[in-house]
């Protein structure tokens, strides 16, 4: 059986199912209880699990840091950080403790915490509400970084993240929360971390895109006179290098699309890996279509900042025509 769900509904359903499945899962964060979360991703869960859903005091360092302790004591914390930019306030705890509790204790402790956080632009939010720092999180050894690009993957990847023995930053593209509906399996649906998906097959050029950029890429492809293969990594770290490499070996051309600034963005890592794994198969320089190296502008200029269909199509054409 399956239901037609939006991403935010898939997230909520999965949280409920994982809590029912595993009593050690506790859910907390700012406004997640009574109000059901500012995006309503936890709506109703407090009623369903009265002692396992908590409105936290305001403070992200506290949210992440207490999660480390909860995990050490055998719980499986699932925390919401209201917007990804406010995970910077918890970054010290994430980098210094959550990510390396396992290695520092030589495997004696672990931190199976999932930090869910809405991210990305395109919903006309306030300053500091539109960033995508996946590359920064991926740069922290010990962390996993997961980004669903569809409701069904939202469910499968979130289930896998919560069950994962290591800390996961689970980034939910705000732009996709309500804009897309699809059939999502009702029963246990797990998408293993570290497995990319080929969203569209093609022979001429490989485009790698994630989050809300995947949909944009899929529609940009229609404007390009080429047979485009689109790969969605789904897990940023650990990255499924094999799937991307296989695709590029087949097409010989590659474009990476992301909304974060280009410099030191995750596209740089992907292109760098490809020079290691598929260098002699490349027929053109890899292209990156990304946000600019400026703070994400406020929403009046946000559309100019975010890669749109036109820029993505232009990037693909450059790769194909090179």
């Amino acid at each position: 059986m399956a239901s037609d769900l939006r991403l935010v509904e898939a997230v909520k359903a999965t949280l409920g199912e994982e809590m029912a499945r595993d009593e050690s899962v506790v859910l907390y964060g700012e406004d997640v209880g009574v109000a059901g979360g500012v995006f309503r991703a936890t709506d109703g869960l407090l009623d369903e699990f009265p002692n396992r859903v908590y409105d936290s005091p305001l403070g992200e360092s506290g949210i992440v840091g207490t999660g480390v302790g909860l995990a050490a004591a055998g719980m499986r914390p699932v925390a919401e950080i209201q917007f990804q930019s406010f995970l910077y306030q918890g970054f010290a705890q994430l980098q210094q403790h959550a990510s390396r509790l396992r290695s520092r204790s030589r495997g004696g402790f672990s931190c199976p915490m999932t930090i869910r956080t809405p991210y990305g632009g395109g919903i006309h939010a306030l300053e500091h509400h539109s960033e995508s720092f996946e590359a920064g999180f991926a740069h922290v050894p010990g962390l996993k970084v997961v980004i669903p690009s569809s409701p069904a993957d939202g469910k499968g990847l979130l289930a896998a993240s919560i069950r994962d023995p290591d800390p996961v930053v689970f980034m939910e593209p705000t732009r996709l929360y309500r804009s897309l509906r699809e059939s999502v399996p009702d029963d246990d649906h797990v998408v293993p971390l570290g497995e990319a998906a080929v969203a569209e097959e093609g022979a001429d050029v490989t485009v790698v895109a994630w989050g809300s950029m995947l949909q944009r890429t899929l529609s940009a492809v229609d404007d390009v006179d080429a047979d485009v293969e689109v790969v969605d990594p789904r897990t940023v770290y650990p990255l499924d290098t094999d799937t991307i490499t296989e695709s590029v070996k087949k097409t010989g051309r590659c474009v990476v699309v992301h909304e974060a600034p280009g410099t030191a963005g995750f596209g740089a890592e992907i292109v760098s890996r490809l020079t290691e794994t598929a260098f002699y198969h490349l027929e053109a320089p890899p292209e990156r279509v990304t946000g600019y190296d400026v703070p994400v502008p406020m929403f009046a200029r946000e559309d100019a900042y975010l890669p749109d269909e036109e820029r993505i199509a232009a990037g693909i054409r450059r790769a194909v025509e090179a």
Partner: protein, 359 residues
Amino acid sequence: MPRTTVAEFSVESLEILAPDGSVDEELEPSLSEETLFDIYRTMRRARRLDERAVALQRRGELGTYAPGTGQEAAQVASAAALAEDDWVVPAFREQAALLTRGASMENILAYAMGLEEGAESSAEDRALPPAIPVGSQALHAVGIGWAQAIRGDDTAAIAYFGDGATSTGDVYEALNSAGAYGAHTVFLCQNNQYAISTPRENQTRAETLAQKAVAAGIDGIQVDGNDALAVYEATRLALERAREGDPVLVEALTYRRSMHTTSDDPRKYREEEEEVDWDRKDPIARFEAYLRGRGILTDERVEELAAEIEAELEDAVAGARETAAEADPADMFEHAYAETPPWLERQAAAFEGGDADGE
């Protein structure tokens, strides 16, 4: 060693103007009629600006907006106690405080339209731009107040934040650092009872927020935040101390009468009765009753003022719309660095050329 008490603390609370407009004459500050009227005027301007901004947001002209309705006394009366050279460090709901300091409605609206132009400011303004990351700005006010201490200036800085912010590490660090440096800083905490949906009593077990000063070794006082006279007086005294290197935390008890922001629905987490109860303590109505009692306000003056405010608002809306219409997207490349680095220059050129991405 026997068990002995080594320190004891208490927290005072100040109210001068009762909800019915009657005044405690012993505590009544001696303010000129002009100052009193100015405070009233700015409270009214802020309230109308909120109404208009929410309406514009509903029409799609503004982005998310955080109204300060109900908190006008806490903001305007505290900002009115500042000297011209003092600094203001706002959070994101401080339209009323900023208007008091001479910010324009037009800039406030432009910012809410998602335009950086609305936050354009410099040291001359003695105010930092709005701070959205909760609690983060308190430390900036400590840095400013510390600079004032280093230079021996007779000025101070005031940081605004909410009850929710007092749970953040940044605010704890700010209170503590201010004391350690002898910074010229006043912390004005508007306890408006909610941090989005989280009521004050779920935020902390502390009985008051003013007592958070105690652990930092600085003074804390609670004040009726809907009482403009008490807020003015408490802030004035706090500023006097701060200028001498003794920072103070003022907790203003108030109520966010409206939604958290335009994307919030308070019905999810609070009862209408509670709101009605606080409506009766409205800061503007209370202050107006006092001013009428003193003959400073008349029906005529109130009407005149309303007309003035409408005119100001219309101009501001028109001005902000013009800024929006003229906004050049390429402006995003202008201010990231003093000197634009070459790689960014390439990005900007590609953007301008309409040919994407630096090739």
